[in-house]
C-alpha cells in the first residue's frame, strides 16, 4: 500500500485555515529537532524561546511593538499579492519611509509639539510610495519584472540611508558615529504603557489592518484586485484596468511599508541609523503568506513572527545561540506552509498496488 496525491473536486476551505496551523506545528517540531541536534535541552530551549520573552507586561509590550510594522507591511503587501503584483521590496520602501520621516524630524529639530508627527507620517507614507512607484511605473510602462526591480531598490535605499547618516545628516556631536541627531520629543510617538516601549504606532497599525479588511473584503476595488489575481482574463473581459491594479497594489504596499519605517524611527530607534529594520520588510512577506493574505490572518501571523524575533534575542542571551536562528525559523515556517498548502487542492489517498493475475500467481 502506498500514498498518492489525488486532486480534490474543489479546493478545501478547511485546509485553507488548517494549513497555517499545521505549518506552525511543523516548525515547532523542527525546532525541537534543531535544538536537540545543537545539544540543548529542547524543552528548556523552547521555554527560553517562546515563553520566557512574553512572561511579563514588558515582554508583551515588546511583542506588540515588533508585531506593529509586520502587520502593517503584511496587509499592504497582501493588497498587491492578491492581484499577483509581487512587491518584495518592502524593506527598501520601509527605509525610504524612515528617511523621509527622519528628514522632517531633523528639519524641525527642537520642535516639542507632537503635531510634528503628522507631517512625519505623511512624509513616511509618501517616501514608501515613491519607492514603490518605480517598479509600478516600470512594470506598467515598460513591462519590467517588478520582483527584480523592487528588490534591487532595497539595496539602493540602504545605500542612500548609509550615505545620509555618514554624510549630510550625521550628528556633528556624535563622535563621528554614522548616526543622525536624536529626534526631539515632538518627533517621537507617545508611549502608551508607562515603563514599556509600546507606542502609538501599535494602534495605528491595528487601524490600518482594519482598513485593509474593509478595503480588501468589502470594497469594489478590493474585489477587482482579487479578480485580477485569480483570473486575469476574466478581469480583462470585465473591463478592469490591469495597469491600475498594479499601481494600486504597489502604492498601497509602499505606503504601508513607509509608515512602518516612520514608526521605527519615531518609535524604538528615535534617530536615523545605518540600518533601521531587522528585516521586517522581508519577514512581512512571510506574514502575508502565513496570514493567507487576509487581514485577520496577518494580524495573528505578525504576532507569531514577532515572537520569533523576541525568541531569537532570548536564544542569544539564554542559550548562547546566534540570534540569526530567527531567520532560520522564519524560512522553515514558510517552507512548511507552502508544503501544507498542497492539501488545499489535493488529498492523500492510500492506493493498493494493482495485483495482476500473473503477479498473484507468482510464489512470493
Amino acid at each position: 500500500m502506498r500514498l498518492k496525491l489525488e486532486a480534490r473536486p474543489e479546493p478545501s476551505r478547511l485546509m485553507g485555515y488548517l494549513s497555517p496551523l499545521l505549518a506552525a506545528l511543523l516548525t515547532i517540531v523542527a525546532g525541537f529537532v534543531l535544538f536537540t541536534v545543537l545539544g540543548k535541552n529542547p524543552l528548556q530551549a523552547f521555554h527560553t524561546f517562546f515563553i520566557h520573552p512574553i512572561r511579563d507586561l514588558n515582554g508583551v509590550a515588546e511583542l506588540l511593538l515588533k508585531a506593529s510594522p509586520l502587520m502593517l507591511i503584511g496587509v499592504g503587501l497582501a493588497c498587491g499579492y492578491r492581484a499577483n503584483v509581487w512587491n518584495i521590496g518592502a524593506e527598501g520602501q520601509l527605509t525610504l519611509g524612515a528617511i523621509c520621516a527622519g528628514g522632517v524630524a531633523l528639519a524641525y529639530h527642537g520642535e516639542e509639539s507632537k503635531l510634528l508627527l503628522a507631517p512625519m507620517f505623511f512624509a513616511g507614507a509618501l517616501g514608501g510610495m515613491l519607492w514603490s512607484a518605480i517598479p509600478a511605473l516600470l512594470r506598467t510602462r515598460f513591462n519590467t519584472n517588478e520582483i527584480l526591480v523592487s528588490l534591487m531598490l532595497v539595496y539602493v535605499a540602504g545605500l542612500l540611508l548609509s550615505w545620509l547618516v555618514h554624510g549630510p545628516w550625521r550628528d556633528p556631536d556624535g563622535f563621528n558615529f554614522p548616526q543622525s541627531k536624536q529626534f526631539s520629543d515632538g518627533a517621537l510617538y507617545p508611549i502608551l504603557v508607562e515603563g514599556t516601549r509600546l507606542n502609538l504606532g501599535f494602534p495605528i497599525a491595528l487601524a490600518v489592518v482594519a482598513m485593509g479588511y474593509v478595503f480588501l473584503n468589502r470594497s469594489f476595488l478590493g474585489f477587482q484586485l482579487r479578480v485580477a489575481g485569480l483570473a486575469p482574463a476574466a478581469a480583462r473581459y470585465a473591463g478592469f484596468n490591469a495597469s491600475r491594479m498594479v499601481w494600486l497594489g504597489m502604492l498601497i504596499g509602499g505606503a504601508c511599508a513607509g509608515i512602518a519605517g516612520m514608526g521605527e524611527v519615531a518609535g524604538p530607534i528615535g534617530q536615523l541609523l545605518p540600518s533601521v529594520s531587522p528585516g521586517y520588510g522581508f519577514a512581512a512577506i512571510i506574514v502575508a503568506f502565513v496570514g493567507r493574505l487576509h487581514p485577520v490572518g496577518i494580524l495573528l501571523a505578525s504576532l507569531l513572527m514577532s515572537l520569533l524575533y523576541l525568541g531569537g534575542e532570548a536564544a542569544q542571551m539564554g542559550l548562547a545561540l546566534p540570534s540569526a536562528i530567527t531567520g532560520l525559523f522564519q524560512g522553515l515556517l514558510l517552507f512548511f506552509l507552502l508544503g501544507s498548502d498542497v492539501f488545499i487542492n489535493y488529498r492523500l489517498r492510500a492506493v493498493r498496488p494493482a495485483v495482476t493475475p500473473a503477479a498473484a500467481a507468482l510464489p512470493v
Binding site: 518605480i134 513591462n143 545605500l159 528585516g279 540569526a324 531567520g327 522564519q330 514558510l334 498542497v342
Partner: protein, 305 residues
Amino acid sequence: MDAIVPILAAAIAAGTPLVFAALGELVTEKSGVLNLGVEGMMLVGAIAGFAAAAVTGNLWLGALGGMAAGAAMSAVFAVLALNLMANQVASGLALTLFGIGLSAFVGKPFESVSLVKEGTFDIPLLAQIPLLGPVLFRQHFLVYVSWLLFAGVSWFLYRSRAGLVLRSVGESPESAHAIGYPVIRIRWIATLFGGAMAGLGGAHLSEFYAPMWAEGMVAGRGWIALALVVFATWRPARVMIGAYLFGGVTIAQFFAQGAGIDVTAQFLSALPYVATIVVLVIISRNVNTIRLNSPVSLGRSYRPD
C-alpha cells in the same frame, strides 16, 4: 593601454560568481522551472564552501562542499515546487529567506576565520600573450572552470539530444509527457544543476574572490544573476557578456577610488543595482522580446496525469 589590463582582469574575476549562478539558473529555467532562490543558494554555498575549506584546509573540497550545499537547497525547492506543486515564486522567495537565515546562523563562528589566499593560475604560453594574457589567462582556476561550464551548457542545450528534451519540457511539458519523457524527473535534475552552480558561485565568492565570510556577503548577486538570464534572453553567450559587464560595474568603485576620483562610495556601490534595473527596462521594453524568448511554461506547475 597597460592601465586597462588590471581593470579588465578584475571585471572577469568579479563576474565569475555571476557566470556560475546565471548559467545554472539558465538551465533550470530552460526546463520551465523559475527558481527565485538563487540568492539563498549562493549564500548557503558560500558559507558551506568556506566552512569546508576552513575545516579541511582544502579549497577544492570547499568548492565541492559549496556545490553540494547549493544542490541540497535546490532539492528543498524541488520538493515544494515540483512534487507538491507549490507556487514557484513563493517557494523561491522562501528558499532565499531561509538561505539568508541559515547562512547567518551557521556562519557566525566563521566570521573571523581567514583562508590561505589562493594565487592565480597562469596558463603556460597563453599567459605570455600581450594584453590578452594578463586579462584572460592569469586568473583563478575556477575562472577557467566557468568557461568550460559555458562551453558545456551551450553544447548541451543546443547540440545534444538530452538538451533538446530539456528544452521541450520547458516549452511544453504536456507534449513532452505525451511522448513519454519523465517531466518531473527532468525538471528535478535541471533544478539540482542550477542549485549546484549557484552554490559553486557562492563558494567562489567566499573562498577565492573575497576570501572571507561575512553575513549577507552575496549582496544581491543572486538576484542580479536572475536578471542576467532575462537580460540574456535565455542565451548562454549573452549571459557571459552580461556577467562580465556587471563584474566591471561592481569593481568600478575600487578603481575610481584608486584613481582619486572623488565620488561618494555609496553611489558607486549602488551602480550594479541601478544598472540591473536599467538593463531590465531596456530588454523588457519590447513585450515580444520576452514572450518569444522565455520558455513557454516558465513558472507554471505541471502535474502528470
